[in-house]
């Protein structure tokens, strides 16, 4: 009997794989751009931006009860994948789209991806409240997360191993940190990857020798270290002024993406977000409004 089953499975598997092509073209056709303007807007993407997006949606829906806006997280990569597949109208992303992703949107949705900057975020480096560290430089961070520096005493802390916390690799924050701090080198294998910035903050809060990174809005119960661009530069603490002026070395824009021009309903929401009312919500959540 098991042998018979084995043959059956193998045979069916062979039948299955010849059909790959047809399913793939099927999804491409399904992903064609919807022309009709729906009063429901689906937003998906960055975990960093999910609270911000939800607050925007709530405030906007209060003023415009006819519109329904659904916001979910999952990570910037997840949101971009959803935009490509057509399962989200707007993608929230904490990093700019890669060329390959832009091309996928174009081929699968038959329209170019449109990018809108919606907010500013300073990427904070979290340490435990008990940590004696005063500041850290980008090269030091690169060595710590690259696995070269493994003891706190090498960067002016206690003699104890550094416990690394980070994000899983579908996170825009992961991508940003990798690009701007690690210069695209690999993270150390010992980096613990947690789902969501709040999980990282929680972990660092409970770990005296932990270090983590994430959006400034999640700062709660941990300390954000002032960051030096290089070893000679002055240490800059993350704040509205330093992020807007660009003196804080790891600040970034947060984006909305749509496939093709947004429908009138979506466009109204997006311009509300970038307008004064939407920008006011940003400060309430803990991020920074766009520089004027």
């Amino acid at each position: 009997m098991p042998r018979f089953l084995g043959f059956l499975v193998f045979g069916l598997a062979l039948v299955g794989c010849t059909r790959t092509e047809s399913t793939e073209t099927g999804t491409a056709a399904d992903g064609a751009v919807g022309v009709a303007d729906s009063s429901t807007v689906t937003i998906k993407g960055s975990d960093t931006m999910v609270i911000l997006g939800q607050r925007w949606a709530e405030t906007y829906m209060k003023a415009n009860p006819a519109v329904t806006i659904q916001v979910t997280g999952g990570g910037s990569g997840t949101g971009i994948a959803a935009l490509i597949n057509g399962s989200a109208d707007i993608c929230e992303s904490s990093r700019p789209m890669k060329d390959q992703e832009l091309a996928s949107v174009k081929t699968k949705r038959n329209a170019p991806a449109i990018e809108v900057k919606v907010a500013l975020d300073a990427l904070a480096v979290y340490v435990n409240a008990k940590s004696p560290l005063k500041e850290i430089s980008i090269p030091q961070l690169a060595k710590i997360y690259g696995g070269e520096t493994t003891n706190w005493k090498d960067v002016g802390g206690p003699n104890h191993a550094i416990i690394l916390y980070g994000r899983e690799n579908n996170s825009g924050t992961y991508g940003y940190f990798k690009e701007h701090v690690l210069a695209n080198k690999d993270f150390a294998a010992a980096t613990q990857t947690l789902a969501g910035t709040s999980a990282v903050v929680n972990a660092v809060k409970g770990d005296e020798f932990g270090i983590g990174y994430g959006g400034i809005a999640y700062l709660e119960g941990v300390r954000a270290l002032p960051v030096k661009k290089d070893d000679a530069a002055p240490a800059v603490a993350p704040s509205l002024e330093t992020a807007q002026s660009g003196t804080y070395p790891i600040s970034r824009f947060l984006f909305f993406y749509t496939a093709g021009n947004p429908t009138p309903t979506q466009a109204k929401f997006i311009s509300w977000v970038t307008g004064p009312e939407g920008q006011k919500v940003i400060s309430d959540v803990g991020y920074y409004p766009l520089p004027k």
Binding site: A13, G16, T27, G75, E168, F187, A189, A190, G206
Partner: protein, 325 residues
């Protein structure tokens, strides 16, 4: 099953007096039940086919082979060693740390769950008063109803701190914490199945042993336990299967650092956690996507193999003991 049913239907001549209609409805009911049974087999097969289909490019596609091949999946990388880092300029897909993580966490979970559950089952089936049993058995089985995300959260927030304070582990989230969390999930299964096995041992065995002058402990250890051994072995296999496939608890409690490390106090990453964390983001059809499905297929095949081997083993043991359940 089929043959027995049909002989029943066409048995003696005296039954020919039954109306045709009864026969007809009987046939229909039989076909319906057979259909339902086939649906479950078909869904297992279809899932296997789907996973296999998505994983196959790892073996066949030249495009995928530019990034990853069977050798890079298992052999160490010249610079990075055993490294799982799929999102990288040079993606590294070594699956050994992940499988080691899975085995490590599963082993720790069994180490906690198996003795506890078997002893609990022994107590409940052999020593507990009826009333105590009526409370304890459902209470333990209720553990199975706790969603694994809740267990994972408990492990993450409470258990991890206890373990770190107790053992002074370097990583707060580690294999031990994840394994202990996991043992909560498999205890009810191992307990429930072993308890059933113990209770299925005929009372005449116990009476005979006692009548021959053995003590209660001797009866238990030399008669009841061996007679129930196949069932208990099945319980352990079931628990293993549950532990190896569990995702949420390990995602939350293991720390998810892909280290090739045999220690129980270091952060660890399992196959299931990797799939859960990474599948949401990958571009459909990319090498990374195919490798994740390949991991899924390997996991599926290994649990299948273990279940089959377990069944074989139990079957042989049952034959050897000559007992029946």
């Amino acid at each position: 099953m089929v043959s027995r049913a049909s002989t029943n239907g066409e048995r003696p001549a005296s039954h020919l007096s039954l109306t045709r209609q009864v026969r007809w409805s009987e046939r229909l009911a039989e076909a319906l039940i057979k259909g339902v049974a086939l649906v479950s087999i078909a869904s297992v097969l279809l899932i296997l086919i789907f996973v296999g289909k998505e994983a196959l490019p790892v073996l066949t596609s030249a495009e995928v082979h530019r990034e990853v091949s069977l050798t890079t999946l298992f052999a160490p990388n010249a610079e990075a060693g055993y490294m799982w880092q799929p999102v990288s300029e040079v993606p590294k897909y070594n699956v050994l740390p992940l499988f080691l993580g899975t085995l490590k966490v599963t082993f720790i979970a069994l180490l906690f769950a198996v003795p506890l559950s078997i002893l609990a089952a022994l107590f409940v089936s052999e020593f507990a008063h009826k009333r105590a049993r009526e409370i304890i058995k459902p209470a333990i089985e209720l553990l199975a109803g706790i969603p694994s995300v809740v267990i994972g959260f408990f492990a993450l927030v409470v258990l991890a701190s206890w373990v770190q304070r107790l053992f002074g582990t370097e990583h707060r989230l580690n294999a031990l914490v994840a394994g202990m969390g996991l043992s909560f999930a498999i205890c009810p299964i191992v307990f429930s199945v072993s308890e059933d096995a113990l209770r299925a041992v005929p009372n005449s065995y116990r009476s005979a042993a006692l009548a021959l002058g053995s003590t209660r402990a001797q009866t238990l250890l030399r008669v009841v336990l061996p007679a129930a051994a196949p069932g208990i072995a099945a319980a352990v296999v079931l628990g293993f299967g549950r532990a190896i496939g569990e995702t949420m608890i390990v995602v939350l409690a293991s720390g998810n650092a892909a280290l090739l490390d045999f220690g129980w106090g270091t952060s660890t990453r399992t196959v299931t956690a990797t799939i859960a964390q990474e599948l949401g983001e990958v571009v459909v059809g990319s090498a990374h996507y195919d490798v994740l499905f390949f991991l899924g297929a390997l996991l599926f095949l290994s649990t299948l193999a273990i279940n089959l081997a377990g069944e074989r083993f139990v079957h042989r043991m049952r034959k050897q003991l000559g007992g029946s359940q």
